[in-house]
């Protein structure tokens, strides 16, 4: 018999984040998380496939947001305009979860396994953005290059955003980074 647990997923996620922060990701077990949340391991595995999943469960939604924004960008938008719109949409989403993002970044930086997983996810996002550009009729190498560079912009902007002591607007940091990119690539 499956007991209904009010907001089980949220309680488990919060317990996991607390423990990863206190002990480190590697030193935390699913049993620890379940205990802290006052739930069972079975309940944990009904919500998450493993303990990494707590940190990466948003990846699919992020990818869909990026891809949808690129695909639906105005017809006249250049490839870089289209990915800039996508990055700004992602920026707005992350702005609503800054505390979680800061906490998550600290946890990821403490574990090589998590860093590798994060880089694989970012790499998939670059591939997905390139594919979305191709759906708009953008050819290669432009599509592949723009996808890869967009993710480089996102990575560097996200790192600046989570490490700034004052809460700031990620969409603005992304716009600044794109402007900076234009400056550094301008021929002299």
């Amino acid at each position: 018999m499956v007991r209904w647990e009010p907001n089980g997923r949220g309680r488990l996620a919060q317990a996991a984040m607390e423990l990863y922060g206190e002990r480190g990701f590697d030193q935390t077990t699913v049993a620890d998380i379940a205990e802290r949340a006052g739930l069972t391991e079975r309940t944990f595995f009904r919500h998450f496939s493993d303990k990494r999943e707590v940190l990466f469960s948003g990846a699919q939604a992020l990818q869909e947001l990026l891809v949808d924004t690129v695909v639906n960008a105005p017809d006249l938008a250049t490839p870089m305009d289209a990915v800039a719109l996508a990055l700004e949409a992602a920026g707005s989403l992350f702005n609503e979860h800054r505390d979680f993002s800061v906490q998550r970044q600290r946890i990821i930086e403490g574990s090589t396994e998590l860093q590798e997983r994060e880089l694989i996810k970012l790499s998939s996002l670059a591939v997905a953005l390139a594919e979305a550009l191709r759906q708009r009729g953008v050819g290669d190498p432009t599509a592949g290059l723009t996808g890869e560079v967009a993710i480089a912009l996102f990575k560097i902007s996200f790192e600046r955003w989570v490490s700034s002591s004052e809460p700031s607007d990620l969409t603005q940091v992304l716009r600044d980074s794109l402007e900076q990119l234009r400056v550094v690539t301008a021929t002299t």
Copy 2:
């Protein structure tokens, strides 16, 4: 007693690459590699720390080449000029080892573990390039951004280079990608 084995390292590397190509990386053991090379496992571990090392032993030399080229670029070189020189130096180095690079890429694409390792290495190169730019007096966010974008350019150019059916010049592919980046970032 340590027996002297003529070119043990080269023979082991060749045997490893053959086996990774034939069976896949995951299905190859150090014992298999030693046997194919006609050497012992002990000899393998005198040359390589593990079986991944065969594929990543060039990473340190690559990083030094990139960093040295940035640090020693002409005083008047812009940050992007300095990293472009570094990428071209790397391009010349890889041009001499195209067959190995093609073979290595195919092996890496067949293993998630190796893809993760490759992304971590690329990420370290971005950090090292940014640090080399700071040594030239380049401030942030320009240094961090330029390092990250340079590696995005390298990644996309390298993938194009190893997947082209005709042997081509990696330094030229890198120059084309940089030109392409200038086009996609140009404001309309």
